[in-house]
């Protein structure tokens, strides 16, 4: 038998790997999709434009002193009284659409990312709690999640804005209420699996405080699916905010997001002045699609079930 075991060592296939840290592996797997890299580059550019909008736009579209009503509804490419070219045309107030879009991006991204972040915090905490506490807490939280997910997002948002009225804060609240359930469900699902692992038992044996176990031990291990959900939800939040603003239930006129810009141009579109609606729409589209492309690839890379 002894020589059998000696023979039993299967021939080890020689492989020359570098030391592979999880992060490096993640980056290299992410880079396998060129489309996803493209999405990431585009999104980074959009985010930079949004952040630096006040410094790079030719005019501040909300400073009435800089607007000239004579420049109203100019076609893309015309040069206005202030001496610069309206590459994307102007709206009825003589506002440069390009500047308007860049400022609109700021508001759309802030609302979208902000609400996604808050929803993530709320949802992840509740999800963790549900998974860790189990029993009645768990079933109470999950009933609420199920109930909410059985209604479409637009309806829940509509309901909340009907209760609260419009305004940026109210939109954020509505988006948080719409989204938290997705995070809670994701985190609970993962945490339930992780909870049974030995390292949690070990932490419990060490009598670590509950919040430490939850946030230092359990949460980091729930991060991959959470990141995927968060990416997708940012895109969804931006789209939903735009929709609500388009319907006139979202942000106020004084702080127009992309959705409101599109709504403002709606009436002019029928008379052939397409650009007032069209370009903000393109900006919205590119933003959402680029985030989704990144999210799609993240899901493929981070989803352990798809790993070979």
């Amino acid at each position: 038998m002894s020589d059998a075991t000696a023979n039993g060592t299967a021939p080890a296939t020689p492989r020359k790997d570098k030391v592979e840290t999880p992060f490096r592996r993640f980056v290299s797997e992410f880079c396998e999709s060129k489309v996803a890299i493209g999405g990431l580059i585009v999104f980074t550019a959009i985010a930079l434009i949004a952040i630096f909008a006040p410094w790079i736009t030719p005019q501040n579209p909300y400073d009435l002193a800089q607007l000239d009503i004579m420049d109203g509804r100019q076609e893309p490419g015309t040069t206005g009284g202030a001496g610069f070219t309206f590459w994307l045309g102007t709206d009825d107030q003589g506002r440069d659409m390009m500047s308007g879009i860049m400022y609109g991006l700021r508001i759309s991204l802030t609302v979208g990312a902000g609400s996604a972040l808050i929803a993530c915090l709320v949802g992840a905490s509740l999800g963790l709690l549900a998974a860790y506490a189990g029993g009645r807490t768990d079933s109470a939280i999950m009933r609420l999640v199920d109930l909410q997910l059985s209604f479409p997002s637009i309806l829940v948002a509509l309901m909340i804005l009907a209760f609260l009225g419009k305004g940026i804060m109210n939109v954020v609240i509505a988006l948080v209420i719409v989204e938290w359930a997705y995070y809670a469900r994701t985190v609970r699902g993962t945490a339930l699996v992780e909870r049974r692992r030995e390292y949690i038992e070990a932490a419990q044996c060490l009598a670590l405080p509950t919040h430490r176990i939850l946030f230092r031990h359990l949460l980091p291990n729930c991060l991959p699916p959470l990141i995927v959900v968060a990416t997708m939800q940012v895109a969804r939040a931006i789209a939903l905010e735009a929709t609500l603003s388009f319907l006139g239930l979202g942000v106020p006129i004084t702080e127009p997001s992309l959705g409101l810009l599109i709504a403002n141009g709606y009436e002019y579109m029928l008379s052939g002045k397409y650009w007032i609606s069209f370009y903000p729409g393109i900006a919205l589209l590119v933003t959402i699609v680029s985030i989704n492309l990144v999210g799609d690839q993240l899901r493929d890379v981070l989803n352990p079930r798809l790993k070979k």
């Binding site: 020589d3 059998a4 023979n7 039993g8 299967a10």
Partner: protein, 328 residues
């Protein structure tokens, strides 16, 4: 002597994957005479199932038959068009699958699944087809077939489902049945019943049978001939009694050694060390070399299959010769 039902010559079925070519079946030859049973034996991944699918023409991409011929009653199946092949499938050549829980469509009733098979190859009325289905169900030992025809697969036990699958295979009294481990998923008692049933049917109808299995004891009781496969190749073949009594290839000997039996009580079970090598990177030379107790210098070269006595073939440089002790 009449022409054999099936003659497989130098069959090569390869899978062209992104990671490289997987030679799932590589230079396999065997013959099945009319009314005879061939046992195709090997571990998982040895290519026995792919051999079965090659015969019935159901190798899915990226796999395809890369060479050799499959002569079925004189016609080369490898050269037939899909349409001609479909004509034979389920009609002259039938197949039974491994897992009876998975082979019947869960959302279609048994009668639908049987009648469609009859109608696929015979121009008869639905009523005649139903009649045929009912008779066949009765033949494989399913009680009250009329009632059972109207049932859904989930209302049957595993053994009953396999009987249904066998009945479907028998609907057109095929000349050849390829059975891919049809009893592996069943209880031992059910396994015995089904084996006996199949043996009886094959004997009465003159149907040839290829019985794919990893279980030597099944082959011992059922088959006339045996072909042992390892890493996509036939390493030894011959009449069942001869191969099992006097294995020439060290792998066959190892397989036999690892079957628990009453005679060997008290002795530790012998096992073949190591695992089946990945077909993507086979070691050069004899594929069994790394696990073989008899391997030597010459095994670095690739062995050819060669005759070893009447009706026997072996693919080994150092076969276990007469009188030598069997080592595992």
């Amino acid at each position: 002597m009449a022409a054999p039902t099936l003659e497989v010559r130098n069959l090569r079925t390869h899978f062209f994957t992104r990671a490289g070519i997987v030679k799932a079946v590589d230079d396999v030859s065997f013959t099945v005479e009319r009314g005879k049973v061939l046992g195709l034996v090997g571990e998982s991944g040895s290519g026995k199932t792919v051999t079965g699918f090659s015969i019935i023409g159901l190798v899915d991409p990226p796999g395809r038959i890369a060479g050799g011929s499959i002569l079925f009653q004189g016609r080369d199946l490898a050269k037939l068009s899909e349409e001609e092949m479909r004509d034979l499938r389920g009609n002259r050549i039938a197949m039974i699958f491994q897992d009876p829980m998975m082979t019947l469509n869960p959302v279609l009733r048994i009668d639908t699944q049987m009648i469609e098979t009859v109608l696929a190859h015979k121009k008869v009325s639905r009523e005649e087809a139903r009649q045929r289905a009912r008779d066949t169900l009765g033949m494989v030992g399913i009680p009250s077939p009329d009632e059972r025809l109207k049932a859904y697969p989930h209302q049957f036990s595993g053994g009953m489902r396999q009987r249904v699958a066998i009945a479907i295979a028998l609907l057109h009294e095929p000349d050849l049945i390829v059975a891919d481990e049809p009893t592996t998923a069943l209880d031992v008692t059910i396994q015995g019943q089904i084996l006996a049933e199949v043996q009886k049917l094959a004997a009465t109808t003159g149907t040839s049978l290829i019985w794919i299995t990893h279980d030597l004891s099944v082959v011992a009781g059922l088959a006339d001939d045996i072909a042992v496969m390892y890493a996509g190749r036939v390493v030894e073949q011959g009449a069942v009694s001869e191969v099992l009594d006097r294995p020439l290839h060290p792998y066959t000997s190892g397989l036999i050694g690892s079957v628990p039996s009453r005679n060997k009580r008290g002795e530790p079970l012998r096992q073949i060390p190591g695992m089946t090598p990945s077909l993507l990177n086979l070691p050069p030379g004899c594929a069994f070399r790394t696990r073989c107790p008899r391997a030597g210098e010459e095994c670095m070269a690739e062995p050819e299959i060669r005759g070893a006595g009447p009706g026997r073939m072996v693919r080994c440089f150092r076969p276990i010769t007469e009188g030598a002790e069997q080592v595992a």
